[in-house]
Symmetry: C2
Subunit: 195 residues, 2 copies
DNA sequence: TTGTTTATTGTCCCATCGGTCAATCCACCG
DNA sequence: CGGTGGATTGACCGATGGGACAATAAACAA
């Protein structure tokens, strides 16, 4: 890992604190004071490291996105067939330490801002584009391109919907149940052969 | 239609105005002043008819829910087979005048409040329960109960996900495309025979 | 008409919040 | 040692927004 300056570390701490507050309070409830308190600092410091509240949220969403991406990529790196890639993507999107209600709340809150914040919208587009691209890397060898694209859209919408469901009804679903539903939707021909 | 008092009419107008503002501005941006302006009245009048902003939002969500319910029920009433019931539910959830980005934004904004507002959470539970019950009325005659329940969860999560998708990426999908994806997911055995 | 209730408005209050700023502290460098 | 620049704080400001309230207008009952 590259050396990080003191200010990079501070920024990182503040992003983490902001994400924790976001889980509890949502975007509206996340004030600069609460973020500062969560990080054990003063409000001024937050604005010292982030030009504005909007920029703080943007970086929080960007980092949450990177964490998700890395988790999926870690699984993808170990996948040795198109079918295994698909499973890797699905399981990477339902890691047990991320697919929990508070995290869903934070994401949901951020998503609700997307229509009114161009920076967040950009990040959201990246997320969708990567999901589509990842899924296509597994589907393309197995299906005609038109069918693969339809399938990718279906699966990514289903994953989004399952996250939304957990956010709206905490405790209504375990990661394993969510994965089972997506596997079911992939269908037998896209699942890896039993080991 | 039953006689409505003047106050019922006012409340109705204010709910409609609030929903319009909600589409444009989201929950945070929807202030009592803006709602009043949208309705052509003063801020005081809003709090005359609704005890608080929270109660206004609660009634807005409740009414939006009723509109959705009625649209689905209208189609269900014309369905004469389990397969037709399933199609009715799906098409009722993607009516072209409701499945549009601004409406998605309003719903998304309300959903983001669900974790922090018990009244909204109650309404959300009702929505999910009705969706599940409607789907089961079509699936139960066609599948074993365990499979039917899994299928219902799959389909309702997919519908949620498609709505979310339209909210996050306006213009990325037409009602027909969304319906096609859900039909695909239902599978041939659950689709009505070609006419 | 008169009295009573309801509709409606504009004003006021107060808490909150994002953001600015000057002052201070502290670490490092010459 | 002294100074320079970033780190940190707390005070302050202006705007906003939810909500209370008193005053007024209008509808209605007696």
């Amino acid at each position: 890992m590259a050396l990080r300056s003191i200010s990079d570390i501070r920024r990182q701490e503040l992003r983490a604190a902001a994400f924790r507050v976001l889980q509890r309070e949502g975007v509206q409830g996340t004030t600069l004071e609460k973020v500062a308190a969560e990080a054990g600092a003063s409000k001024g410091i937050v604005l010292h490291y982030f030009r504005s509240k909007a920029e703080l949220f943007e970086q929080v969403m960007r980092e949450a996105n990177l964490v998700l991406r890395d988790r999926v990529n870690a699984r993808l790196a170990r996948a040795d067939s198109p079918q295994a890639r698909l499973i890797a993507i699905v399981e990477g999107n339902f890691e047990p330490d991320m697919f929990i209600a508070p995290v869903c709340h934070a994401w949901l809150s951020l998503c609700a801002q997307v229509p009114r914040d161009a920076a967040l919208a950009r990040i959201q587009r990246v997320i969708h584009a990567r999901m589509q691209s990842n899924l296509m890397s597994g589907l393309r060898p197995l299906l005609p391109v038109a069918e693969a694209e339809a399938k990718a859209l279906q699966i990514s919408a289903l994953i989004d919907g399952l996250w939304l469901r957990l956010g709206l009804a905490p405790g209504s679903m375990t990661p394993d149940e969510a994965i089972a539903i997506v596997r079911q939707t992939l269908g037998p021909s896209l699942l890896p052969p039993p080991h």
